[in-house]
């Protein structure tokens, strides 16, 4: 019993041990702060880079990397070029060059097709795919840790695994 008491007293009486503990705690705090700061910096940098990328994509300047307006412009340009190549005049010239000639009423043989309804005009609406579009943001970007845990548990149960 006395030996134990003496050892405790010796430890307590060693000030460098106390100081080392304090230094250790202080360093631990610093490491935590540095980790938080590093994570914050990492996220901020990634967000900034993504924002810069958006700016580049939205940019109107001509550069080596195609951006959104550039693609739209090129699409529009190509569509107009295609329309020029398939214009009435050029199609007539091509048809005549291939030996075709304009049809006259006597050239036709009409066949009655019950229920047939010819298309009267174009429909340029984009047809619905029937399946919902993928979400723009992945769940990882807007769910909490508990949401994530719950989702993982649910998915593992659905997959037949053990939670």
């Amino acid at each position: 019993m006395n030996n134990v008491t003496q050892i405790v007293l010796k430890v307590r009486q060693a000030p460098w041990r106390v100081q080392r503990q304090w230094v250790g705690l202080f360093l631990l705090g610093l490491v935590l702060v540095a980790m938080v700061a590093a994570i914050y910096l990492n996220i901020t940098v990634r967000a900034t880079l993504a924002g810069r990328e958006i700016q580049m994509l939205e940019s109107n300047t001509t550069n080596d990397q195609p951006d959104i307006p550039e693609n739209q412009r090129i699409n529009s340009d190509l569509e107009t070029q295609l329309a020029g190549l398939t214009s009435v005049e050029s199609m007539q010239q091509r048809a005549e060059a291939m030996g075709f000639q304009p049809a006259v009423p006597d050239d036709f043989t009409y066949v009655t097709v019950p229920g047939y309804s010819p298309t009267n005009a174009v429909d340029m609406s984009i047809p619905s795919s029937g399946t919902p579009l993928a979400p723009l943001l992945l769940p990882e970007y807007n769910e909490s840790l508990f949401d994530w845990l719950a989702r993982q548990l649910a998915s593992s149960v659905q997959a037949g695994g053990q939670p």
């Binding site: 300047t61 007539q92 984009i126």
Partner: protein, 576 residues
Amino acid sequence: MRMVYFGRYLVIAILMALAGIAIPVQIVRLQNSQEVAGITGQGVMVWKTFYPARGEIYDRHGHLLAGNKTVYEIGVDLTSNPDLQTIALAAQMSLGMDISEAMTKMTDVPDGTRYVVLDDFVPVENAEKLMQLQKDARADPSGRNLDALNFRAHLMRSYPENDLASTVLGYVTEDNHGYMGVEEKYDNVLAGIPVTLLVPADPRRAPEYPQIPPGQTLILTIDREIQASVEHILDNALISTGASSGTIIVMDPRTGEILAMSSTPRMDPNDYQQVNQIFPGETPFNRAISQAYEPGSVAKIFTMAGALDSGKVTPGTIFLDTGSIVVGGVTIYNWDRGAWGYQDMTGCLAHSLNVCLAWVSDRQMGSDLFYSYMQRFGLGHLTGIDLAGETPGRLKLPGDSDWYPVDLGTNAFGQGISATSIQMVMGASALANDGKMVYPHVLLAQVRDGHQSNMSPQVVGSPISAETAHTLSDMLANALESESSDALVPGYRIAGKTGTAQIPTAYGYDPDNINASFIGWGPLDDPRFLVYVWLEKPQTNKAASVVAAPIFKQVVEDLVVLMGIPPDSIRSGNGQ
């Protein structure tokens, strides 16, 4: 020994503490530093110009009538000590620009100017020549320098079908504003006008960028194949008849959809700078809607429709034509100054007897009833067609300072009133569509964000009953057949009426020139088309039955092919 270690520990602890503190301090400093904010744009708003594309225009089958093509703005960065002489020389070689003009543009600028536009709306091929010169100059050791040249690609209006349907489409100038036709009428919808806005320069606020919507896509009722056919026929008609100008309209009388509308002159809207040369002075851009004229005998269909509908006459009503009639103290004669004897109402239409129609309006209907029907058919009012530049024409009414009693007689056969071709077409739609008059229009649908909104047909009135419409159509068809008209199309029963009208001048009617018109619709049992032909001042003949009726026939012969309309015998099930 322990003191030595303590000192070392202390130094290490202080260094690590300083390093640890430095990280958040640096973060805070970076977040708030003016210097860094200047680089990242934090808190800074900058002016940014967005260039949405102007909406495209398609025909009813999805063929592009008006799109956009790439052109370049070529500018010079004056802050980079540009080699102006070399740039001016390059501009001359690739753009055809005068050297002195280029030098003036670059040097005659206010102090402090950083950037000057050398040329804009430069075609791609010319811009590419200049880009190649810039590349060559970089590789050239002689020191010539074109690095100050900047190229900005953007879109401008382009019409791949050139002058096809140009009087319907209108044109767009370099400032992106539409003029005439659809381009002006729907300018705010097509828009795509560049917008300059203050936006955050901070990349972290990029999602706050405004989304400037592009112009809407328009689908017209025009069928480009029918339009091309009609324009071809009209151009040939002007050559063969010597007419000074012409107009042809094709409309679906059931819906009011304009399938084709052509008038002369036409211009290629890609080259709109020629507009003042092609349309000098008062020349209308689109005669079909902008030039009112005295339609003449084609207007007799409205007079007869009103008389039949009001019960004042029947198809079998007999009129004794003595060759003249006095209305309001003025004697009115037939077109041939002849007396045609006993005629029923079909005969009056078949021989286009002015005296008979004046008798119908003056002796049978009276002014109140007659003008009531003329107004019901829309004469004297805008049709409201969705094209810029429509004029209302003029229908003088009793009580107007320039109306005289004789007008009741002359108006009955289309003289003394002025109407546009589109007004005549709208009025006649009631005859071809069971008495229901439809709103003529060229817009079939609008497309935005992948959704298409279709226009619904609009009935603007029912000036006559369905029974009257059928009766008159039958009378007109019989009239054409009895006269073996040149408008008849084998296999299809057609209703129609010619119009040979004198042209008023400041000194009375022009003795040398006439307006020749023809209006007709078919097939009679289920009208799918209504065609109006107007030739101004034909020289080869002064009768519409000779110059205008064959043009109508040509149009219909193409229409039945392009619209896939089988002959009457096949549609009725009696064909082979």
